[in-house]
């Protein structure tokens, strides 16, 4: 019997080509999209799940609850917390610190700026990363040992065995005093003790160079590790809990430790009030975004879920097509169905037959879809910047899942037509022209409305997403991001050398200015937050403390709203002895928080602990973290001890010359420190890339959903045209002109589209409004976006059916009536 059903399915397939084509193309494109999305989602969810035994492993994240109500969530946590937890909280089975630090790594003539991961010596026993050489229990046991990744081993030592060879590392300890020049350029020699296999792309860890934190090269001092309860210094804390231990219990037990250990500087603020901790399961780390100081760029849970929803919607749109066409074509099959009933087929047998046909069509579509995916994958990988493809034959669960999913789609598409068609009454259908099943017209209209709700809703979303991206790209950020080169590696120079290089560069060809600072726009890895209050104001305000050389505002093109800029010529601006007071600039947001206008703020004093800061000028607000985060109040002051970035403003027309000069100057002035530089415009672009990429993906998938819906609409019109022929004939005999008929037909197709608008608009408004809340700076939801998407849907629907409608309307009424 199954053979017979398959035979019918195959023959029918070949005979009704247009019908099969619409169904299979719609379904294959939908399935291909769904598979591509599935691969993306699977990749996003696979981060770190390849590391063995990580089910009880968590990252400990701190959220600073700053006085004044601001929250500052970080992916990091202060160093001493872990050891205290291990010592005092039962259920904490193991802990390990992971601190990526920027250093210059040298071997022989090879010298590069690198990220060195400084860890506890038990790191490789907790993160069981694959070692090519060395014993995980011993490779980090000696203080001056280093484990390299295979590609780094090759980069520094070529094909020779790296184990036992020496690497020279130099960084700048956080505690270097400005006067201790040697402190900034100490070189440490470490011996290679093991080689790691390169980590796959789906990890949140960096492990090119792994050294134990017992090494002299560690930039965090032993004292800071004991007492630094209010700074993170880029430290990631990982905890393994004993099986069955509830993370919430552990976090509760942490509170008394914090209250005892953290000195908040205020008797009104407890340690557990300032620092709130959370435990993020390692496998969730990648999709926990929006935190300060992530080791690698985080993914977006919203995007992952959003694309899953889109995949389901696209497949549903294709399923609707299938159902619509199957029931629309039912009249053509009515005779066959009647006949089968006459010769004894029961309703179940017929229903099974139609389900088999639907599943068959879906499996054909799946084969086409998999081919499409194979063709598109290289492009897709390049677009995503990550290899998400799968080897189906090696990945049985995936292939099995996809096939089962496709069968499910087939059953879903087939179940309604099967019910309708198998319910035909044979006496009625065996007359030459079968009659349409009652009720299916209403269902078809419902499905068409549903498809357009999806299309219009996604269309509005696409418009809004692109408007927001465009808004982000062109927004005045309050500073100039073009023709700016940022040099990161100045941390590793002593303060005198930093100033000297800054001076040398500012005199170079094509350079218009240089500035030193402890923070630059778009670098979210570092934030210095302190609590201050303005005189006369009891309210504490949490501010970013930006330490800059006086040239910073002019190099970044920031506007002075009131007062004056800082100057090298005024002692109180420059003073290194903070206890005598210091002149500072603030931004407009800080002035507002303190309760002043820009003009009023000038001359006011701010208390930073016991230090008295005097406001000499007010700068405009700069959106230095892009659009997602609001501008924080900021205080700018001069503090040469703490600069980590050198910003060089160059002339756009002399860029190559200026960059060559920067490189040359650096090499001659700081030969032992590898330079790390980037363009500010690239950093800004990086900030937008994820959004732009997801926006583009979104638009592609939306377009496909709309095309599939149109394909279905086209099929529906073609298949119902036969039934419309008689109606058109009668109308024409009664005096209707072609234009009247066309108008009537277009109106009929417009009704479901207009109805779909009514449903899609509020839905789209609700979700997009929520999505935009994620941006501190965002567009407003212009009603025009909704009207545009609706009008586009209507036009596309008209264009889809117009040719067919015209042909129908022009046909001779005599022929049309003879059709009966």
């Amino acid at each position: 019997m199954l053979r017979h059903y398959l035979l019918m399915a195959m023959r029918g397939f070949g005979r009704h080509r247009l019908y099969s084509f619409i169904n299979v193309i719609g379904l294959s494109v939908a399935l291909a999209c769904a598979i591509l999305i599935l691969l993306f989602v699977r990749d996003q969810l696979s981060y770190d799940d390849w590391i063995p035994d990580t089910q009880n492993l968590y990252r400990l994240d701190v959220t600073w609850h700053m006085p004044g109500g601001q929250l500052l969530p970080a992916a990091l946590s202060p160093f001493p917390v872990l050891n205290a937890m291990k010592a005092e909280i039962p259920g904490v089975a193991a802990v390990t610190h992971v601190v990526p630090q920027q250093m210059t790594v040298t071997a022989g003539g090879r010298q590069f700026p690198q990220t060195v991961t400084v860890v506890d010596s038990n790191f490789l026993r907790i993160f069981r990363l694959p070692l090519l050489e060395g014993d995980p229990a011993r490779v980090l046991a000696q203080p001056e040992s280093v484990v390299l990744s295979a590609s780094m081993a090759h980069k520094y030592f070529g094909d020779s065995d790296p184990v036992g060879k020496l690497l020279r590392l130099s960084g700048a300890p956080f505690e270097c005093k400005p006067a201790e020049r040697a402190c900034f350029s100490v070189i440490h020699t470490l011996r290679v003790s093991g080689v790691l296999r390169d980590l796959p792309h789906n990890t949140s860890l960096i492990a090119d160079f792994v050294i134990p934190n017992t090494s002299q090269a560690d930039e965090i001092s032993p004292q800071e590790k004991q007492t630094g309860w209010t700074s993170t210094y880029g430290n990631f804390s990982f905890i393994r809990l004993a099986p069955g231990i509830d993370p919430a219990t552990v976090l509760r037990a942490l509170k008394p430790i914090l209250d005892r250990s953290v000195d908040t500087g205020s008797k009104f603020l407890s340690g557990s009030g300032l620092e709130h901790y959370s435990l993020i399961p390692l496998r969730d780390v990648h999709l926990t975004s929006g935190k300060l100081g992530e080791m690698r760029p985080a993914g977006s849970r919203t995007a992952v879920y959003g694309f899953m929803v889109i995949a389901v919607l696209i497949v549903l749109v294709a399923c609707c097509n299938f159902m619509n066409l199957a029931t629309a074509r039912a009249t053509l099959r009515a005779r066959e169905i009647g006949l089968r009933k006459v010769v004894g087929a029961g309703r179940t047998e017929l229903a099974v037959q139609f389900l088999v046909e639907a599943v068959f069509a879906t499996l054909v579509a799946l084969a086409v879809a998999l081919s499409l995916v194979e063709i598109l994958l290289p492009l897709y990988d390049r677009f995503l910047g990550e290899p998400v493809g799968a080897h189906y034959l090696r990945d049985w669960p995936l292939l099995g899942g996809i096939v089962c999913g496709a069968i499910l789609v087939g059953l879903l598409s087939g179940v309604y037509p099967a019910m309708v068609l198998s319910g035909f009454r044979p006496a009625a259908t065996l007359k030459t022209s079968g009659s349409a099943p009652r009720g299916s017209g209403l269902l078809r209209s419902t499905l068409v409305v549903g498809q357009f709700v999806v299309s219009i809703g996604l269309g509005i979303a696409a418009i809004v997403i692109f408007r927001q991206i465009e808004f982000a790209r062109t927004l005045d950020l309050g500073f100039d991001r073009n023709d700016i080169v940022v040099i990161k590696s100045v941390t590793n120079l002593n303060p005198g050398a930093r100033e000297q290089i800054a001076r040398m560069l500012s005199a170079g060809p094509g350079v218009t200015g240089t500035a030193l600072s402890n923070a630059v726009p778009f670098d979210t890895g570092w934030s210095n937050n302190v609590v201050v209050h303005a005189d006369g104001e009891s309210q504490n305000v949490s501010i970013h403390l930006v330490k800059t050389s006086p040239e910073f505002p002019s190099v970044y093109g920031m506007r002075l709203l009131a007062g004056r800029l800082l100057s090298r010529d005024r002692g109180q601006d420059l003073s290194a002895d903070w206890s005598k007071g210091k002149n500072v600039l603030i931004n407009a947001m800080a002035a507002r928080r303190f309760g002043f206008s820009a003009e009023e703020a000038v001359g006011k004093t701010i208390d930073l602990g016991t230090i008295r800061l005097t406001v000499v000028g007010v700068l405009n607000d700069a959106l230095k973290e892009g659009l997602r985060n609001p501008v924080w109040p900021a205080v700018f002051l001069i503090d040469p001890a703490d600069y980590g970035f050198l910003t060089v403003k160059v002339r756009g027309d002399r860029l190559p010359e200026a960059v060559a000069f920067i490189d040359r100057t650096w090499r001659s002035a700081a030969p032992s420190v590898a330079m790390q530089r980037y363009f500010m415009s690239d950093a800004f672009q990086d900030l937008l890339t994820a959004d732009q990429r997801q926006g583009a993906m979104f638009v592609v998938f939306v377009t496909i959903a709309v095309l599939i819906a149109c394909l279905g609409l086209f099929g529906l019109v073609v298949f119902t045209a036969e039934r419309r022929t008689k109606e058109v004939g009668i109308r024409k005999i009664s005096g209707a002109r072609t234009a009247d008929i066309v108008r009537l037909m277009l109106w009929r197709i417009s009704v479901p589209v207009l109805l779909a608008n009514l449903i899609a608009w509020p839905l789209a408004y609700y979700y997009l409004h929520r999505w935009l809340q994620g941006y501190a700076y965002r567009i407003s939801l212009d009603p025009l976006y909704f009207v545009a998407a609706g009008a586009a849907a209507l036009l596309i629907a008209w264009a889809t059916v117009y040719a067919n409608t015209l042909r129908l309307a022009r046909a001779s009424p005599v022929r049309a009536l003879r059709y009966e």
Partner: protein, 228 residues
């Protein structure tokens, strides 16, 4: 074989009530060949559909092989129908996607007690009997009208039904081919099949033992043809 007592069929819509059959009494004995005649809309097809269990009566009794089946469920009727009734239509009603062999086979496909081998043998036999065995691999569209009707008859008889219902079997055929089909039906009747045939053709009705004339849903005359 079958007997209809005071059988009526009324079609109702919200506004109109149409009586298709009115208090019909009719008895058909096993082995009989009955022709039903009457003008368009007199209820011939309705009567045939009820007799063939494709439709149910609004009132009255329908006795078939000793059972009163007027109130039976669709699945009960479906079972009885597939074992007892074969249909022949004016428009042949062959499935375009299936070839000749498969079209005939269709009538046995839903008989779970017939093995595949048995099924094939019976289909071949039926095709040979109807002289279309050489066309077994052809599709219906490739056959002449007469050949198509032979295939349809083969399909109707392959399940060896006791009752054959023919709804204007010669309506779409030229007169020579129509005669051939009537000869075939007569042969089948001679072999024991009970046949009820709706027709507009007086000459073809003459092949039957008895002609029932319907008018406005009622039996008006019955004419018995004397055995020759």
């Amino acid at each position: 074989m079958l007997s209809l007592k005071h059988l009526s069929k009324v079609y109702r819509t919200t506004e109109v009530e149409t009586t298709a059959l009115r208090e019909v009494d009719l008895e058909i004995a096993g082995g009989e060949f009955v022709a039903i005649m009457g003008p368009s809309g007199c209820g011939k097809s309705t009567l045939l559909n009820i007799v063939g269990m494709l439709d149910s009566p609004s009132s009255g009794e329908y006795w078939f092989a000793g059972h009163e089946i007027a109130g039976w469920s669709e699945s009960q009727l479906s079972d009885l129908r597939k074992n007892s009734v074969g249909f022949i239509f004016q428009s042949f009603n062959l499935v375009d996607e299936l070839n000749v062999f498969e079209n005939v086979e269709l009538a046995l496909l839903y008989h779970k007690d017939v093995s595949a081998r048995d099924r094939k043998a019976r289909v071949r036999q039926a095709l040979e009997r109807m002289k279309v065995a050489h066309r077994a691999k052809h599709r219906p569209q490739q056959l002449s009208g007469g050949q198509q009707q032979r295939v349809a008859i083969a399909r109707a008889v392959v399940s060896r039904p006791k009752l054959l219902l023919a709804d204007e079997p010669t309506g779409n055929l030229d007169s020579a081919t129509g005669e051939e089909v009537m000869q075939l039906l007569t042969e089948l009747n001679g072999e024991g099949a009970t046949i009820v045939m709706v027709t507009h053709s007086r000459p073809h009705a003459e092949y039957a033992h008895r002609i029932v004339n319907l008018l406005d849903g009622s039996v008006v005359t019955e004419k018995v043809r004397m055995a020759v």
